[in-house]
Structure formats: structure tokens, C-alpha cells
Point group: C2
Chain length 327, copies 2
């Protein structure tokens, strides 16, 4: 295990401890019990970890960053809790979602309360940087709502361009990663320039990660991936691969793609769709886009001249780790 | 028209203008359109008005209080928007609710975004008082969630005590009025002691107003009230009157009350329930409780020795106006 894993693992532990130490009231239990349940489902806690690493590029007393880092994790879970209602998702991290285990009303309200709890954590931010931190937090929060709305809009739309898809994914998943790093820098008293570069790093890594995830779902090794490939294809999900295929297809390929997506699993849907992806060079395009995004991300990181070099290297290694590549 | 109405009306206008001037993005339209719609439905805007009056007890540049006052109104509307989903309410202020005009998902998400917009307004609060203002805002926001949860819990419970009911109503409706005044004082740089007294005034007036509202629904003059009395009784709503009746009833009265509530409208349900209320002295008990609460409220107001006397008088007059009594 190398140093990056140790530091990241230590931060993950600190965040888990902070979550467990959250002093939630006992009553009304049907408000707070779902919050305890949902927060205990785990996850990689990447947003708070990234926030803490960003802080450590400038200062060593990383425990000062924990409340804001925790706020980011609470906010992220609030969005997941409400998204699960809208997406009719029965399962989250192998366990029943809140709206299934309790009901929709409980999921709406405990989600709302979870969002308040996120803002309560921000109360512990140093007053000198609180206004800046709040500005980033609020901007990102609103963008995440916009991303979810675009996602819902696109589901009932015929044609969605690759650009529109990337914009949606950027809002829904990447701005929060960017904002987590930006807030880490601001907490540590870093300059606005460095904070902005940190944001760019996080946003681009987030987008690259999403494309990587789309690739993995269709082309991942079933053994290491842990599930049958093609799940996204089977449910006609909007992914980078599908949007790229639609953008690249011409003439008969357009029709063939539509027909392949209209197949049933038993009729070889996954194989048929992937064959068209392959003929259009979609996996290559996805790899290329990933590389492009990572280059922009690392370029931003390299420009952060006030930041500690060793931690910048750790952030880079973490990005490679997330995208399962050799650093 | 006396001075209080002029000042309150002027503040209401300022808030309406601030709402109309909210620079909301155009896209995604299904996120922002419901927010514009809901905020345009009107209302007395009592929370921001109270916040502004509280500010004016200490300072004259009341426009400085507008962003925080607007944040309170946006937050209040966020809670209404989500409550309407949970309460299956089809109508709000004579117009279709968001979940009916659009759908549940849109109502959840545009509500979430409305809450972010509330926090965005707090960004304009002077950094020196921002931490204190946020602490009050977050505390009250969480209590409002707790109140809504208790309200839902009570609907599926057999017995709810008068004390539990008052606690629920306090959380669901009164703490936000109290918090609005408290924030107004803090914004103006008033002391923690004065802020606390302002909170007490608002909370008690809010509770008194709720009881007044319950009384009006059952005993109001149909001509001035504008609707048939007894609506709350017909839907078996938990009100101060019903909870007081259940607390006061003994022996046969317990059974009689249950039977009266089990009647249909055509069988004289409203009249039967009210006859029992009358025999138990429920309206008198409600009036007494109202008076008690107002006394505590005005006592707190009197103790605010740093506050401008003329504005204190206006707040008192506004409380009387809300509860339709002669000052």
C-alpha cells in the first residue's frame, strides 16, 4: 500500500467517525432514523476526502476541514436520498432505499432535514472564510439540482446531443467534486486563483470518472467488475457511449442503433449494441475524451504553484486510482 | 389607515419587489418555472415583514435586512411546497399546487432548489453577523422539519395530548416567526438578550395566531370569514379545539365526542361537535390560552429596553391585527 492510500484511508476513517459522532436528536424518530440509516450505508466518501486533501495542500491541521468536508458528504447524501425517490430506485448500496424502507413522505422530509444538517456543519467554518465557502456551496448545490432536472428532462426526450449529455453529467456529478476541492482550498486560506484551479481539477476528474464508469459498465471485466456487463444498455440509459454512438452514426447506422436498443436481453441486445459501438469507434472516443479531461485536470493541478507538491501528487494518484489506471 | 399598516404595507411591497427581482436562470425551465409560479401566489409575507420590523427597532437602513428577510420567505415557501406533496393538497392560495400542476418529482426538486435560493440570499448578510444568523436559520429550519414529522406522526396515532399538539404547532409554524424576529435583531447588531426576547415575542404570537385560526374555522362569522365554518371539524383535523376537547372530556363526553366526529356532514357533524366543544368550555379555554400567550409575548416585547419604542408599538399592533382584535 502506498502513501496515498494510507492518507485517503485515514481521511475516510475520520469522516466515518464524524458521521457516527453526529449528535442527532432522538425524536421525532421517523425523521432522524432514516438519516442515520442512509448515512450508515457507506460509500467511498470521495467528496470529503478530496476536500481534506485540497486543504492539506496549504495547511497541516486538516481536522479544521472536517466540518465542511462532512457538510459536503451530508449534502451529497441528501441529493441521493431525493434522487432515489425520483428515479424509483429500490436499492442503494445493496440496501433498501429510504422511500422503500419507509415511504415517500418520510424520504422527502428526512432528505430536507439532512440538507439542514449539512448547513449546520458549515456553522463551524471560520467566519473569515465562511462567506466564500457558502458562495461555492450554494452555487454547486443549485447546479446539482439543475443537473438532476436535465437528467429527468432527457429521459422523456427523443434526441439528446453528446454536448447536452456532458453538460448534464457535469452539473449532476462533477461540480460537487470540483466544489469540494475548491472549498478545501478556501478553508485553508488559499487564493481565489488556486481555489479555481482546484475546482477545475475536480470537475474534470469527475467527468472523466463518469465516462470511465460508463465504459466499465459495457466493457468491464465481469470478474473484477462484479456484475454482468451491459446493465446500462439493457435499461436504455443515457451514457456517454450511447450519446457518442448517436452522434457518430450516419445513414443505416442510425436505424441499426435504434433497432439494437429496441431488442430484448434474450435477443442479444447487449452484444448487438456493443457491436455498433465498436464499429463506430465509440470505446476509443470515450478513452480519448477521458484522456483529454485528465490532461486538463492535471494541467490545472500543475498550475497550483502555492500548493504543496507532495499532496498534489497524491491527488493525481487518487484520480488515477479512481479511474483504475497505473499512475 | 394608521401608521402600522403603512409601514407593513411598504415592507410587503419591498418584499414583493425583491421576489420579482430574483434573478433566476431560464433553464432548466421545469426547475425554475415552478419556483416562479409558487412565489407569485402571494401571501401576507409576515415573516420577512416581522424580520424587517425587528431590524427597525435598532436601525433605520431597513433595506439592509431585505436579503435575509427574503431568505425567510423563500424558506417558508420551500416548506409549503414540500408539505403540499405530503398533505396531498391540491390547492394553495386558490391555485393548483406544484405537484398537481406539474408532478411530484418536479415539486420535490424545485422545492430543493428553492431552499438553495434561500441560502443564497444569506450570502448578502454582513460577515460579522453571518455566523449568528446562520445558526438561528438552521436551528429553526430543522425544527420546522421536526414539526412536520410530528404532524404526520399524529395523523396515524389515536391519542395526542394537548401539550403534544402545542409542541407540534410551535415547531411547525411558530419557531419560524420567532426566528424571523430574532434574525432581524441580529442583523441590526442587537444584543443576544434582545434577539432572544424578540424570538419569544414571535413564537408566542405565532402560537396565539394558530389558536385564533382554529377558533375562526369553527366559530368565525361566515360573512367576514369568507367560507363555511367547520372545515377543520369535517376533515377531523387536529386543532387546538379538538385536542382541548379530548383533554377536558370525561366519562360519557369522551364517547359523545368520538361519535360526533364519526358523523357525516349531512348528519349535522359540525353542529354536534361544536355543541360538545361548547359544553366543555372549549372556546373559552382557547381564548384564555390566546390571552396567556399574548401576555408572554408582550411581556418579552416590554423587556426589550434597547429597542425603539415606536416600532415596538407597531409590532404589538401588528400582533393584534393578525388576531383581529382592537389594540
Amino acid at each position: 500500500m502506498n502513501t496515498i492510500n494510507e492518507r485517503v484511508a485515514a481521511h475516510q476513517k475520520q469522516i466515518e467517525k464524524a458521521i457516527q459522532s453526529l449528535a442527532l436528536p432522538g425524536q421525532p424518530s421517523r425523521l432522524y432514523e432514516p438519516i442515520r440509516y442512509f448515512m450508515s450505508l457507506g460509500g467511498k466518501r470521495m467528496r470529503p476526502v478530496m476536500c481534506m486533501l485540497a486543504y492539506e495542500m496549504y495547511r497541516e491541521d486538516v481536522e479544521q476541514a472536517i466540518p465542511a468536508a462532512l457538510a459536503l458528504e451530508l449534502f451529497h447524501n441528501f441529493t441521493l436520498l431525493h434522487d432515489d425517490i425520483m428515479d424509483l430506485a429500490p436499492v442503494r448500496r445493496g440496501k433498501a432505499t429510504v422511500h422503500v424502507k419507509w415511504n415517500n413522505d418520510i424520504a422527502i422530509l428526512s432528505g430536507d432535514a439532512l440538507y439542514v444538517l449539512a448547513y449546520q456543519q458549515l456553522q463551524a467554518v471560520r467566519p473569515e472564510v465562511l462567506p466564500q465557502v457558502m458562495r461555492v456551496f450554494n452555487r454547486v448545490a443549485l447546479e446539482v439540482c439543475e443537473g438532476q432536472q436535465y437528467d429527468m428532462d432527457f429521459q422523456s426526450r427523443d434526441a439528446v446531443s453528446l454536448e447536452e449529455y456532458l453538460q448534464m453529467i457535469r452539473l449532476k456529478t462533477s461540480v460537487l467534486l470540483g466544489g469540494s476541492l475548491e472549498i478545501g482550498v478556501l478553508l485553508a486560506g488559499g487564493s481565489a486563483r488556486e481555489a479555481h484551479l482546484a475546482y477545475t481539477f475536480g470537475e474534470k476528474v469527475g467527468l472523466a470518472f463518469q465516462i470511465h464508469d460508463d465504459l466499465l459498465d459495457a466493457y468491464g471485466n465481469p470478474e473484477s467488475f462484479g456484475k454482468k456487463p451491459g446493465g446500462d444498455i439493457l435499461v436504455n440509459k443515457h451514457t456517454f457511449l450511447r450519446m457518442a454512438a448517436e452522434a457518430l452514426a450516419t445513414g443505416d447506422q442510425v436505424k441499426a442503433l435504434k433497432q439494437a436498443y429496441a431488442l430484448q436481453e434474450e435477443e442479444g441486445k447487449v452484444e448487438s449494441v456493443k457491436a455498433i459501438f465498436d464499429s463506430l469507434g465509440v470505446p476509443q472516443k470515450a478513452e480519448l475524451k477521458k484522456q483529454e479531461l485528465l490532461e486538463v485536470a492535471f494541467d490545472a493541478l500543475n498550475q497550483m504553484t502555492e500548493a504543496k507538491q507532495s499532496i498534489r501528487e497524491e491527488l493525481k494518484a487518487l484520480a488515477f486510482y479512481l479511474i483504475e489506471r497505473e499512475a
